[in-house]
């Protein structure tokens, strides 16, 4: 077994939605397992005051990229648009999202 196969097997566990930490997003009729992050951040757009913001990201397996339809994802009942793909070149991609 190659190192790449081992990593791929490990990812299967990491993206287990029934007993793991992954959750299911939908895109069209497809279901995609991933890890959702939506950390708070302060945006300094204003000259005087900051603006409350958040930074939604969804980490998925690279092999699931083809299941994303029209760059649209629904996570926790919120519709998002994928605006950037950030591959880690180890079998995973972090999707940067905007609320649709």
């Amino acid at each position: 077994m190659t190192l790449r196969d081992t990593i791929s097997d490990d990812l299967m566990t990491f993206y287990d939605t029934s007993s793991g930490f992954a959750e299911v997003a939908t895109s069209g009729s497809n279901e995609i397992a991933g890890h959702f992050f939506n950390d708070f951040e302060s945006n300094d757009l204003s000259d005087y005051a900051e603006v409350d913001d958040s930074d939604p990201l969804f980490r998925i397996r690279e092999s699931d990229l083809t299941n994303i339809v029209n760059n649209e994802l629904t996570i926790r009942s919120v519709n998002y648009e994928v605006i950037q793909q950030q591959p880690n070149n180890e079998g995973e991609v972090i999707l940067k999202l905007h609320e649709a």
Binding site: D47, A49, D52, H98
Partner: protein, 147 residues
């Protein structure tokens, strides 16, 4: 009260009825929450003064001053035409009253700047319309305009 503050209050009264704004603020430095957007924030930019040793006829020496006031509009939206709508509303509200101030001589539009930021969960956009407000006070008496 410094005449600057009176001018800001006068401008605030002019634009208080700007449509499609949820939060109306004067120099707010606390963060704006999602629920407060779209927000409008009146901000001081700067002030320049020119000393006039002789002042007006029979009057003490005076300061001619130009106060720069910016009016920020901030919202989360991808409809960029909203910024132009805001600028239109602000310009109409202020320039319609440009020669009627009790605490200033005149107001002129100076600049309009747009800024966009797509770092967060949606596009944040900002427009700032800056006005130059000209006024005059007696030297050492900044609280009273002598227009």
């Amino acid at each position: 009260m410094h005449n600057r503050e009176k001018i800001i209050n006068e401008i605030a009264a002019m634009i208080n009825a700007t449509p499609n704004v949820t939060t109306f603020a004067i120099q707010q430095t606390r963060p704006f929450s999602d629920a407060q957007l779209p927000a409008q924030n009146i901000i001081y930019r700067s002030e320049n003064a020119t000393y006039d040793e002789y002042g007006a006829m029979g009057q003490p020496a005076a300061n001619y001053r130009t106060l720069q006031v910016g009016i920020e509009f901030i919202e989360k939206n991808t409809d960029y035409s909203r910024l132009d709508d805001f600028c239109e509303d602000i310009e109409q509200a202020i320039l319609a009253n440009s020669m009627q101030g009790t605490n200033y001589i005149s107001i002129e539009i100076d600049s309009t700047e747009y800024e966009f930021n797509a770092v967060g969960d949606s596009v944040l956009q900002k427009a700032v319309v800056t006005f130059n407000v000209n006024y005059r006070v007696a030297d050492g008496v900044p609280q009273t305009a002598i227009n």
